[in-house]
Symmetry: C2
Subunit: 209 residues, 2 copies
């Protein structure tokens, strides 16, 4: 019997197969795009028969949607964890933002292909998985917005900041800097990149500092 998407009760074997398919799909789709990637390619790279893909996922699009949910789930959890850890350690809200920047970089360092694919799809319209994407995007951005709002409430940030826009800008800053890092100067260390972004966040660009 065919089982639907978010099934925790899948056998270990089945879960392993799905994982292999995710990994194969993510790199191929990141490189080539969704439409240019064939199901045969995905199956081959995963070392699995084509029929297995269809035994595990209703269609190519569904495989992709679940991949999106899976990946953004990891990211959101990681961001939230960073914010909460800072909280526990008594850090300020700027510290929390900084910790989230690092968490974002670590994520992109670990899953560059997923990030790539996510960015490529995020602002598209008229696609099957559009609604999935919106939901999932909101989960991630909401974590950043939450910290900004708490910072404003605590008087640490100006009341005049535009929370959604600032959140988007921060996300963009990390996203683009990290993708450039991975694509064009992969030899740099994560700490280097983090330092540059930290500086920008804290307005330590101007001045001789």
């Amino acid at each position: 019997m065919e089982r639907s998407s978010t099934t925790p009760g899948g056998s270990a074997r089945r879960e392993a197969t799905r994982q292999k398919l995710y990994e194969a799909a993510v790199t191929l789709i990141a490189e080539q795009g969704f439409s240019a990637t064939t199901v045969d390619e995905i199956a081959e790279r995963a070392g699995v028969a084509k029929g297995t893909v269809y035994y595990n996922f209703a269609s190519k699009s569904v495989l992709f949607e679940e991949l999106l949910r899976h990946g953004v789930g990891l990211l959101t959890a990681s961001l939230r964890e960073a914010a909460e850890r800072t909280e526990r350690e008594g850090g300020s809200k700027v510290d929390a933002l900084d910790a989230m920047i690092r968490a974002g970089l670590v994520f992109i360092d670990r899953y560059p292909a997923f990030t790539q694919l996510y960015v490529a799809e995020l602002w598209r319209t008229n696609r099957a998985w559009q609604s999935t994407l919106m939901v999932v995007r909101q989960q991630a951005v909401a974590v950043v917005e939450g910290v900004l709002r708490e910072g404003v409430a605590a008087g640490e940030f100006s009341e005049e900041i535009d929370v959604p826009l600032t959140a988007a800008a921060l996300v963009g800053m990390v996203l683009v800097a990290a993708l450039d890092w991975k694509s064009f100067q992969p030899e740099r260390s994560l700490d280097d990149v983090h330092a540059a972004l930290s500086r920008l966040l804290q307005g330590r660009v101007s001045g001789r500092g």
Copy 2:
């Protein structure tokens, strides 16, 4: 005789047709991606026969590559103009960055579809137009890097900033904030968005200011 790509000596009629094809292609590809967009669709939206596409462009990929060059050319010119205008008016380097942020926003406001498509393709590997994209990207980023370097030389920016990374981060900030603006809160004014980004650039996030 068939004429090649960057031909200034094209007839007015031909140039008009190519323009229509660019406009049709840019929105369709932004919405659906390159592979999911068919040449028939492009031709239909441009109000032209399929053969005409192939009379004007060697292939679907070539059409897309020239579209990329065309669009990034516009952006680069606009950024450079903003930087030079600030220079002439005796503004500081921060002013120049700010003017470029605005120029970027104006561009994205006018050509949201192009921006979308550009972002979706920028970090892909193994694609036909990869090299075109690199060249064209470098042109645009170089303008920002130039201003940053001049700012460092003039002692206005810290010598410790990482020019390429900071440039990428700034571009990302504008890109993502603007795409979010257009996609999710299109009713906001450009000035609003500009103000939020300006604030972030000048480190006026912290504090009650």
